[in-house]
Amino acid sequence: MAFKGVIEVDTNLCKGCSVCIANCPTDSIQLSRAVNSKGYHYAEMKGDACVGCGACGVVCPDSVITVYRVKIQ
């Protein structure tokens, strides 16, 4: 049994604090090259290693991360 996850970041509310990046066990989050309307580099998913553990969502101070997870065979 394995899991595959996806995160969705509300890019307009993200402040780019990077706490999610430090807490990601699979190193699946990075800061974007682009900036949002407030000038912050927002968090975005990278690669396909995300397992949907939800750690990024729990530690996000601005609660901008939604985590999805499916089981794959």
Partner: protein, 256 residues
Amino acid sequence: MNIEDIKRPENIVYKRPALLTDNVMHYCPGCSHGTVHKLVAEIIDEMGIQEKTVGVCPVGCSVFAYNYIDIDWQEAAHGRAPAVATATKRLYPDKYVFTYQGDGDLASIGTAEIIHACSRGENIVVIFINNGIYGMTGGQMAPTTLIGMKTATTPYGRDPKLNGFPLVIADMVAQLDGTAFITRQSVHTAAAARKAKAAIRKAFEYSSKGVGLSFVEIVSTCNSGWKMSPVDANKWMVEHMFAKYPVGDIKDVLAK
């Protein structure tokens, strides 16, 4: 399986709590306040007590907490949140009443209020955000500032001969008979945040049992005041703050 197939409502494992409003938080990037607000919103939602909860805001960075969690709030004068919460709880004994205070509010100007609220054993919850600095006013020394810690008013580090020693409020109020549950937590990792959530939930449950005051201290960061990045501030907190403010339960009168 492509990404759009996974992004379906039935696959959600974590989302923004329903009780948090859509207002953009004014806190600095990476501030622990946002994480604790979220935990409180989740707990109130899970316990189904939105209509029965009254929060008391402090003065400090979290003065605008009433903008972010969709429950009833009362604003208190600086440091007087436990006094306002006492009145609220006594007038509405069936409500869940909590105060949300920082260390400048609770440990400095509001010391008398918190000590006597604890001593009286009011059935309220106190959430105490301890980041060792006055965040809102520009990073001045707070009573909880560590020895040697540089702030705007102690630019060479806190010197005990001149500035005194850090005040460890949670250990102090644990001596008082009116307190039921005292714990110290942090929210710098997902595991720590989940433990903190369990502790805050326990505190809310104790407040309805009438066993006394529940006090949850959250050791936090103020990355702007400490002049570090949010991630470095979390590391600095683990290395330095935890030595003076170790996390864990300090008192629990209902523990088996």
